[in-house]
Symmetry: C2
Subunit: 338 residues, 2 copies
């Protein structure tokens, strides 16, 4: 088995780093204050096993009850927990293609089968995605999707859940950058689960915190599978503060949406095919020249973007939306080599 | 499936808390400084996927190469990773009984079988523990064991590994409180893996950090199964600082060993049967009176210890070694009700 290979993570500041969709803006100042408070309380004791302080705050923000929320050590932990709980060895996990490569790795680790169903050329779901299948136990739908940044409408997501014979995990790691999300559907169909990450929209990739919203009977089953203390005291304090500062989120979203529009426009004038993104990255292909050398030349010039190649689909550059200054640097250097 | 039920974790200070083997002394002051430095560097970027700063420091301390070390989100994460990587559905995991209840839960989650082999009455391993078995894929040996605090000698551990047909994970969560450990055996037999926790001996239960020492070819395989970023930036910084302060560890061990000796002696004068402990807790049974009511009365009186009942073996109280003051309070209240 190959394992999942995460994006390059240079630990120095030598690159303009636009390859793994981090937020370029520092997290809410409430985060550092909360961590310092937690440090003062001390780290000798175990954290709350279910991260209750976070659940209570998030429940207020999202207008659900706390027992509809499961906290995880990053949303990767949530994806791992759901896979382990719901998909047995030899059973089937469905995912769209191209999407987040980790989904398939999780099935492999579990000894489960995975079925990748290609998006239509316009990044809509094909009718096959809605059909039942023998031993189908869970469906992953990233929304917005990566690498495309495209979305499936809430109406389509609800229709999908109604037609599927199994739980549907809507991975909303990037939903804070979109104009809508599927949280309200969780109450309407018990098959729908929505996962979120604090890595991107809250500027906390270094913290590892994500969560799931699902109906309480599902949360109770999933909690049996998670590590007993999957989130630590500092992370719980930080995540609680971050989710409590929705004003910071609103302001940051606005800045990123503006920079995203500018990046998209400029890429198109350079001859890239760039689909409208609802996430904090832009997916670009080029019909006249290969993009891998562009990635390599950009890297030589101090700008790190993500080159992705999906067999049977094609390759492209996924460029994270940084600050205006970072994006200007990226665009200038790209213009010089394209 | 029942899931693992962790010990009670009241989030207030109403109890003298001696039930989940936390360290009563605050962690090395280097920990808070390191977390503050990491906060200043910011949390926007992903952490190092393999926790390299920690690996480098731990490698110096334990005189191995960094690629012999795998960091985990608590040693529970390490136990989960090894189980998922090495034990398939229907295959067999062996563990001693009574020991850490989580081992069996991990096998259950994995759809694997588990085989609990009872300790001898003197807490030594029975000959059956050394024998091969069909589909046996991994053996867990907590050393020191919980709830007993007893140890199996390094010679016996090496003999066990030589006779087993599969990897042997020596869970050394409590080894810093013992007079020896099995780290040096990892180089002598590739089947031996040693896991450690920072929760107990380093006073960092709230941090969630553990690690595994194994030969590099094993570490590489296990790394494929872990979550991509299983440890966060704050935890990596804190754990690196903690492992670097071996003087703090030596001083804390000494205090805990002294208090443990006093606690053990006093329990015996009260009529408890108390086996010599090499961990930071003491296991006590009583031949003349049931111990569950003692746990309950202690709790009513503000002292929380762990009552454990192992079907087919018996029950007892596991009392964590707190400060001298905490232990005096516990002993006084126990004396009043025993």
């Amino acid at each position: 088995m190959a394992g999942y290979l995460p994006g390059e993570q240079p630990q120095t500041d030598e690159f303009v780093k636009l390859n793994t969709n981090e937020n370029p803006y520092p997290a809410s100042p409430a985060v550092a204050r909360a961590v310092e408070d937690a440090l003062r309380r001390g780290l000798q004791k175990y954290p709350h096993p279910m991260s209750d302080p976070f659940r209570q705050k998030a429940a207020q923000v999202f207008r659900v009850e706390p027992d509809w929320i499961l906290a995880g050590n990053g949303s990767d932990d949530i994806l791992t927990i759901t896979t382990r709980a719901l998909v047995g060895g030899g059973q089937l996990l469905r995912l769209p293609y191209p999407s987040y490569i980790l989904y398939k790795t999780l099935a492999d680790i579990q000894g489960a089968r995975s079925e990748e169903i290609a998006f239509q050329p316009d990044w809509s779901l094909s009718t096959r995605f809605f059909e039942g299948a023998a031993d189908l136990r869970m469906v992953f739908l990233p929304n917005p999707n990566s690498p495309s940044g495209t979305v499936v409408s809430a109406e389509k997501v609800l229709e999908l859940a109604e037609r599927l014979p199994c739980p549907l995990l809507v991975d909303e790691a990037y939903a804070d950058f979109a104009e809508f999300n599927c949280l309200a559907l969780v109450a309407r169909n018990e098959k729908i689960m929505v996962s979120r990450s604090l890595s991107k929209s809250y500027g906390l990739a270094g913290l590892r915190f994500g969560f799931l919203v699902a109906q309480p009977q599902m949360i109770r089953q999933l909690a049996k599978v998670k590590d007993s203390y999957n989130c630590d005291s500092l992370s719980i304090a930080a995540a609680t503060a971050a989710i409590g500062d929705q004003q910071w989120l609103a302001e940051t979203r606005k800045k990123i949406a503006a920079t995203r529009a500018r990046l998209t426009g400029r890429l198109r004038t350079m001859g890239f095919s760039t689909v409208d993104s609802h996430a904090n990255f832009v997916w670009s292909t080029h019909s006249e020249q290969p993009v891998k050398p562009l990635y390599e030349r950009l890297k030589e010039n101090g700008v790190l973007v993500r080159y992705m190649n999906y067999p049977g689909w094609g390759d492209g550059l996924r460029i994270s939306v940084g600050t205006d200054e970072q994006i200007d640097t990226c665009l200038e250097r790209l213009a010089a080599i394209v």
